[in-house]
């Protein structure tokens, strides 16, 4: 496979994951805003924008945080390079670029949903339409992953697509956790208050993990439990441990297919060793923020190594 095509597949799935994660954040934000009074709602929207990493771009354009401004910014604003519209445009562009390395089913899953999203987002979005787009993005993701699993040859392209997915997902989870932790922990007075629980509930919703967490913890919500769930629980598909189990397998498969191991395999092994047998107590002792910052950096280093090992760029 061409290095450029591998790059296209990798980024196609990274952007798809990013678009999906942004949609989940928005979904969680909508719910929060509906259950709060107006003043807190503004705080919530600010927090949604921060978590999405779009604060600088947003504040360059808007001085206030209102729901309609926030969701239109996140969904479709041309001034926002990370809008869902822009992300999904990049998903499709990379799919076109790697068109002859993906199955027809996968291409159509992306293209058909792109047509819907493009149509839904061609004018400002009213509050009763936000969740439609969120649903379309999720459906696109589900269809694309289904088509990937059900119709793609298990060659290198498949593993590049998955590697992109899990690198991006791990990055997103660690950022969400870090931002929430940072925002909440210093003000100890919030601990145990309803706002605190609400915020953590939103974290779970942002990764569509609220139901799974409740199921496992009988409704007990506390920071430590949630962190343990999102970092170390291999059963939950949006935990760091799950992402790295999968990534480890995909990178191993790539090394097998190429008959040689590269820098990415080495870094992966190191990261894996660090995560295995780690307890949440150890993470809290080390400092959650420090742990997450280090994780994000290591994750980015693995992504770079994949790009170099497999000659993504000339």
């Amino acid at each position: 496979m061409l290095g450029r095509t591998a790059n296209g597949l990798f980024w196609m799935f990274r952007y798809l994951e990013r678009a999906e994660n942004t949609a989940r954040l928005l979904d969680a934000g909508m719910r929060m805003a509906l259950t709060r009074d107006l003043v807190t709602a503004e705080e919530e929207w600010r927090s949604v924008i921060s978590t999405a990493g779009q604060r600088a771009a947003y504040e360059a354009k808007h001085g206030t945080y209102t729901g309609s401004q926030v969701w239109n910014f996140m969904l479709r604003d041309k001034a926002n390079p990370s809008s869902i519209l822009a992300m999904f445009g990049l998903v499709r562009q990379n799919a076109r670029l790697a068109r002859n390395a993906i199955s027809g089913e996968l291409w159509e899953a992306i293209n058909e949903n792109w047509l819907v999203i493009d149509e839904q987002l061609n004018k400002p979005v009213a509050e009763n339409r936000v969740l439609d787009t969120v649903a379309t993005i999720r459906r696109a993701g589900t269809l694309a992953h289904g088509a990937l699993a059900g119709s793609m040859l298990r060659d290198e392209g498949y593993h590049f697509a998955r590697a992109g997915t899990f690198i991006e997902r791990a990055d997103s989870i660690s950022r969400i956790l870090d931002i929430k932790y940072y925002l909440l922990l210093p003000s100890l007075s919030y601990v145990g208050s309803s706002l605190d629980t609400g915020q953590w509930d939103q974290v779970l919703r942002s990764v569509s993990g609220d139901r799974a967490y409740r199921w496992l913890n009988a409704g007990q919500i506390d920071a430590k439990g949630i962190c343990e769930f999102l970092i170390l629980d291999e059963r939950f598909p949006r935990s760091l441990a799950f992402c790295y189990c999968a990534l480890r397998d995909d990178l191993a498969a790539l090394a097998r297919l190429h008959g040689t191991e590269g820098q990415s395999n080495m870094l992966m092994r190191d990261a894996d060793t660090r995560l295995t047998d780690l307890t949440i107590e150890e993470i809290f002792d080390q400092g959650l923020h420090e742990f997450l910052v280090e994780f994000t950096q290591d994750n980015a280093a693995i992504a770079d190594a994949i790009s170099t090992d497999y000659r993504f760029l000339a």
């Binding site: 290095g3 450029r4 293209n111 047509l115 497999y310």
Partner: protein, 475 residues
Amino acid sequence: MSGTADFFNEMREPDGSVRDAYSSYCDWYDEQDTRLLKRKHREAETNFRKTGITFNVYGEDEAEERLIPFDMVPRIITANEWRKLTRGIEQRVSALNAFMHDLYHRQEIIRAGRLPQRLLRDNAAWLPNMVGFTPPGGVYTHIVGIDLVRTGPDEFFVLEDNARTPSGVSYMLENRETMMAMYPELFMRVPVESVSDYPRRLAKSLAACAPAAAGDRPVVAVLTPGIYNSAYFEHAFLADQMGAELVEGSDLRVVDGRVAMRTTSGYKAVDVIYRRVDDEFLDPLTFNPDSVLGVPGIMDVYRAGGVTIANAPGTGVCDDKAIYSFMPDIVEFYTGEKPLLPNVETWRCADEDSLKYVLDNLEELVVKEVHGSGGYGMLVGPASSKKEIETFRAKLVENPSNYIAQPTLSLSTCPIYTKKGLAPRHVDLRPYVLVSPDKIDITPGGLTRVALEEGSLVVNSSQGGGTKDTWVLKD
């Protein structure tokens, strides 16, 4: 302009009865519920959008992806008509290939006085780098599109030869897929020759032209200018269907005397490059130094026999309309036979007598630039205003050898589906021809282009043309 009634109608006899070729189709059509047909018509468009069969258009602000309108009434050709056409096409294409070889070697045709030297001198597509070099297998024109028009029951003419990089074959294939998906019952009733193995035939034909340096299983790649090219969909489609890599210039470089592509496990030699990049962008070291679409040094590898470039650089000479006007002589010179497929009568404005005739009859004629394509830079006399004709006259007088003129053809019509039912529109036909060292392979059918405006003779998609599925009936 006059209506379409005076033209040869491919579906109906002058008395309104249905011709044999269309009888099964018309029986089927008459049984259909009008509302259902309308719905299917809309479905076809949705299908093209979903599959992404679009071409890119760049406007002032942003890129737009457009569909070429598809008409659901097939254009039908009988087995007998097709047999005659293929003989004519084979003859013409083998002459084209021999002509290219001669032009870049001894130029016997010029020595024999059958073609003026100045046609080469004035030809922008002529490449001195190709002189004395024979491409692998002796093939110059690996893929040719011959544009045909019809004017009567047995009257087909060649309107243009596309020996450079004929496009549109993906529409031939996708139009058929769409028709089969929408009307499976039609294909159970009417025996139609299949077109779907074109990509396999293309892959085989290209592999047969591999250079000596290639192994047992030649590596074929499609070279595209990239996703912003208007025909990118077709490049990706063909690569995908052939099981070939789709490469851009930046993926290729010369490594150890071969052209190699950057794969995830290092550089790997490519044997045959089906390029959809124009000559001048192929090699920045030889041609346009600013080109980023090509591969530095590829021409040296080519001349050393390390790679096949399809079509060969310099074949654009044949697309020139002044050369076209000599095609009957060219066919006779290289095959020793009278041409089976006639040219459209053509006046070369470079000749004084012809120029005088053309200037006297501008309102009746179609005048084209010799290097033009896509329906641009031409005058359709009968459809033009006095002012347009006078403006064109000035250009013509200033540089006569840049133009040829042809009579306004009575292009045949085939019905299209409209809100008011079937209505005749003018059509042309581009069959696709594959050339390998031992074979000329013509896929039965081709791309039928149709002028969607009533009375219009311009079928180009850039100017309101659409396409149809083209059926060649089985015996």
